[in-house]
């Protein structure tokens, strides 16, 4: 076993920023807006680094797909304890249409190339809320998956994952190699402190193009329009049930 873990990190608009729809309605304003690492990706990195600290794995590789700025996100992962980074360069139109299908193809190709034992991802990204990349990556690799993980432990050649599901908690044991996606309660990510950021500058970030991995980035989706959520209308108070029925009839609801 190579003892290598691949962690995917995504650069997203910071959760506290008030986003604004672009005037041409094709998307959201991103220019100059504060970006940071997807919170679930932070949890994924933390879990990988914890496994390394427990000596259960040997190397943590952080991967990000995107333009030049994605390197900042990889640096943060390196500062948290990842050993090296891979920046998959995707720019311009390709970046606008980059979605879970394309990213999972890239991650699957990299997992094979790097001979990874485990791929740990965040369960979803806070900008598109897709919750698909982990699942798709596992399918493309034909690997088992442990999603929504709130606890991960290695047991020999298997991984025990406690999953957060609607009804409660589900424990599964899956064979390595596997894909795990991190949920909120998995751990509390450490801070990327300044000495570690300085050390991270010396760690390597390899530059890769999707074509080198044999990945086709064409999207099967076309975004037609992006709108702000409708303004919440004020409610109305009615005195009696008859009034209620009357109002519902008036507004065409019944």
């Amino acid at each position: 076993m190579s003892g290598r873990v691949l962690v995917g990190v995504k650069r997203v608009i910071d959760y506290a920023v008030k986003i604004r729809v672009r005037p041409d309605k094709t998307g959201v304003v991103t220019d100059g807006v504060k970006h940071s690492m997807n919170p679930f990706c932070e949890i994924a990195v933390e879990e990988a680094v914890k496994l390394k600290e427990k000596k259960l794995i040997k190397e943590v590789v952080a991967v990000s797909c995107g333009p030049q700025q994605a390197q900042e996100t990889i640096r943060t992962a390196l500062a948290m304890g990842a050993d090296r980074g891979i920046h998959v360069e995707v720019t311009g139109k390709d970046y606008d249409t980059l979605g879970p299908l394309q990213v999972s193809k890239i991650l699957a190709a990299l997992a094979k190339k790097e001979d990874a034992q485990l791929v740990i991802l965040g369960k979803q990204a806070i900008d598109d809320d897709c919750n698909q990349t982990g699942q798709m990556t596992a399918a493309l690799l034909d690997w088992p998956q442990g999603t929504f993980a709130s606890e991960v432990s290695m047991e020999g050649d298997k991984v025990k994952v406690v999953r957060e599901i609607d009804g409660g908690l589900e424990t599964v044991k899956i064979n390595i190699p596997a894909v795990v996606t991190a949920d909120l309660r998995l751990n509390t990510p450490r801070y990327a402190t300044l000495p570690n950021i300085m050390k991270a500058k010396k760690k390597k970030i390899a530059n890769v193009k999707p074509a080198d991995l044999g990945v086709d980035l064409t999207s099967r989706l076309e975004v037609l329009r992006v709108d702000e959520p409708p303004q919440r209308q004020a409610g109305m108070k009615v005195e009696t049930v008859d009034d209620l029925v009357g109002k519902l009839k008036e507004t065409g609801h019944i």
Partner: protein, 634 residues
């Protein structure tokens, strides 16, 4: 006593007015002092009355107020810090800090010397905590980068129209912008200062400056001989109650031969340095204003790119210094930057700068521009108004002060960026020769560079500040705004500030508040949600956020003072002057009485509370780096 020139009748009139006004203010100051002496009695009675549920609830948990070496929860925690050496460390990634860093690297490259310059900035990215009008005077920029246009500096909007008005409740009196008046903007550019600072950051990185945004300098380090050794960045992983979390990690120490402090207006480390090195013994206390700003996309028909509008008057009364600005930017979409500035020496504790700003927008001269528009950003920041009289000693062993931190703003021009940049450049030039010299002759381990002060005093910065030094203090007369404008008209426009006297300010802004019982509450109109807005939705637009589980960084020296004194005498002015809704007086959960609730997460780092708190009990310290507003091109 002022000297009176018999051949200047107007001068006589004003001299008379100023003398009588000075004595009037002396008496006022005396009354304030007497009120202060009377306070302890009042405090104890009120204290008993508000103390029904026992001791005041604990608000402050920060280690600067409750030291960790005496705290049992911190026993056995590793407190060693990682340390690194640089040649120069700069605190603050604003125009001054970045200009200094850039100039240092330019000189190093010119002279083929190696120089490690590290810059720490508390915002998560360079420019995220920058807020200003702003009309930039490109003088300093042209000195720094003569080819700034080719380098793509975001100065896209030259000023084409300059409009000044005195507003009354319903009308507007136009004031001609004659050449020679300080606020005339011919040759200047309307900029989004955050974008400009971001561009400066890119230029600095290209030159090899090590920029570290997201790391706040929280402590000044000293050598054994008392000179400044460098700074330490903030610790991370302290819980809200002050105890260490599992992820606790100490900050890092950055040592340098010289440390430049460019924290902007009312920096918290500068506050410590003033005390440590007694830098303010020969200058007047700094006086400040608060500036609130919004960015709007407006109807294209109303958009006039390059138009600059300033106003004074309504809604402020003639004795409250302040005014508005509205600039039409030319950056693609129809964008206007507008805002309101109010001097923090106001006396009515019921005044809310935020609400004055909101109601100003409804004036018939302003509202039509905003109708049909959409607000996209909000923010606030204190700015200094003290001018020449309030500049402290600028150098001390191991460090020096640059930018708005000591305060070089030209108040009537409402511009401080060009002087801040120049001060950073002069600092770099002064220290360069010293730090690259083979054998430095220094009394202290941290280098003392008094040459910076000297070069600043012989530069155009000093000349400019000298010529406008009397304009702001001239507002402290019975006629307030009108007296000030007449003074400016005569002494600045005609005489260019050559009058031989220097007027004084009124003392600390915090001491200017009158007790609530002597003032009338102001009846502000409700926000209409289209042009004016409520405070909380505005704060959300600033994008501000802090890690929730950390000690509040608005620390109180004494937790019982807010209810006893601020609420008791002044009716809690911090609820009104904070532009982010950090301070709230809420009823106690049990018993009657009130307590102060500090919503530290809302803080936009404007520093107004530290300045205006009448009890000077609030001490703003830096929160975990990366927290604070997320301004985008403000």
């Amino acid at each position: 006593m002022l000297t009176v020139r018999a051949d200047f009748p107007i001068c006589c009139l004003f001299t008379y007015l100023f003398i009588s006004v000075r004595s009037h203010r002396c008496i006022q100051a005396l009354k304030i002092k007497q009120a202060e002496l009377a306070v302890p009695q009042l405090y104890t009675t009120l204290h008993r009355r508000t103390c029904s549920s026992g001791t005041a609830p604990r608000i402050t948990t920060h280690y600067t107020i409750h030291p960790r070496d005496k705290d049992p929860r911190w026993e056995g925690i590793e407190m060693e810090r990682f340390a690194d050496e640089a040649d120069v460390v700069i605190v603050g990634g604003g125009p001054a800090g970045l200009s200094a860093a850039i100039r240092l690297k330019q000189l190093a490259n010119e002279h083929e010397k190696e120089l490690r310059v590290c810059l720490v900035e508390k915002a998560s990215q360079i420019g995220a905590h920058t807020l200003s009008g702003a009309c930039l005077e490109p003088s300093a920029l042209t000195e720094l980068f003569p080819d700034w246009k080719e380098r793509g500096a975001p100065l896209n909007t030259p000023v084409t129209e300059d409009v000044f008005s005195i507003l009354t409740e319903k009308h507007r009196i136009p004031v001609p912008m004659l050449p020679g008046l300080p606020m005339r903007n011919h040759g200047n550019y309307i900029v989004r200062l955050g974008n400009f600072v971001r561009w400066l950051g890119e230029q600095a990185e290209e030159l090899g400056v090590e920029l570290y945004p997201g790391y706040a300098a929280s402590e000044v380090l000293f050598h054994e001989d008392g000179s400044v050794k460098g700074i330490a960045t903030n610790d991370v992983g302290i819980a809200k109650d002050g105890s260490p979390k599992d992820i606790f990690e100490r900050g890092m120490e950055l040592h340098a031969k010289v440390t430049l402090f460019g924290e902007g207006c009312h920096g918290h480390l500068a506050k410590q340095l003033y005390k440590q090195f007694n830098l303010r013994e020969n200058c007047e206390p700094q006086t400040y204003a608060i500036g609130l700003k919004e960015l709007w996309t407006i109807d294209e028909k109303k958009w006039r790119p390059g138009r600059v509008e300033h106003s004074v008057g309504w809604p402020l009364n003639r004795n409250t210094y302040g005014g508005s600005f509205l600039y039409h930017l030319n950056e693609g979409e129809p964008l206007v930057a507008l805002g309101f500035v109010i001097g923090l020496d106001y006396s009515n504790p019921y005044m809310s700068p935020f609400r004055e700003f909101q109601r100003w927008k409804h004036h018939p001269f302003v509202a039509p521009t905003l109708e049909g528009g959409h607000r996209i950003a909000y923010g606030a920041r204190a700015l200094n108004e003290g001018g020449l009289q309030s500049i402290p000693k600028l150098t001390f062993p191991g460090g020096l002060l640059i930018g708005c931190s000591p305060g070089f703003m030209n108040v009537p021009k409402i511009k401080g960026t060009h002087t801040a940049m120049k001060s950073g450049m002069l600092a770099a030039e002064a220290i360069f020769s010293k730090i690259t010299a083979e054998n430095v002759d220094s009394e202290t381990t941290g280098l003392h560079v008094p040459e910076y002060s000297d070069s600043l005093k012989s530069s155009w910065v000093w000349k400019e500040l000298y010529s406008v030094r009397n304009i702001r203090p001239s507002f402290h007369n019975y006629f307030g705004l009108y007296g000030g404008m007449i003074y400016t008209g005569i002494f600045y426009w005609i005489l260019r500030g050559k009058e031989p006297w220097t007027l004084k300010h009124c003392g600390l802004d915090a001491n200017q508040l009158k007790p609530a019982k002597d003032c009338t509450p102001i009846d502000y109109p409700k926000p209409d949600g289209k042009i004016s807005f409520d405070l909380l939705s505005s704060v959300a637009l600033s994008g501000t956020n802090h890690e929730g589980d950390q000690p509040p960084h608005l620390t109180l020296k004494d937790d019982s003072v807010p209810v006893a004194r601020n609420l008791g005498i002044y009716d809690g002015p911090e609820q009104r002057f904070c532009p982010a809704g950090v301070y709230e007086y809420v009823p106690l959960e049990t018993g009657d009485g009130m307590r102060l609730q500090i919503n530290a997460q809302n803080c936009v780092h404007c520093k107004t509370c530290d300045i205006k708190d009448p009890s000077q009990n609030i001490n703003w310290v830096v929160p975990e780096g990366g927290g604070g507003p997320a301004y985008n091109g403000m």
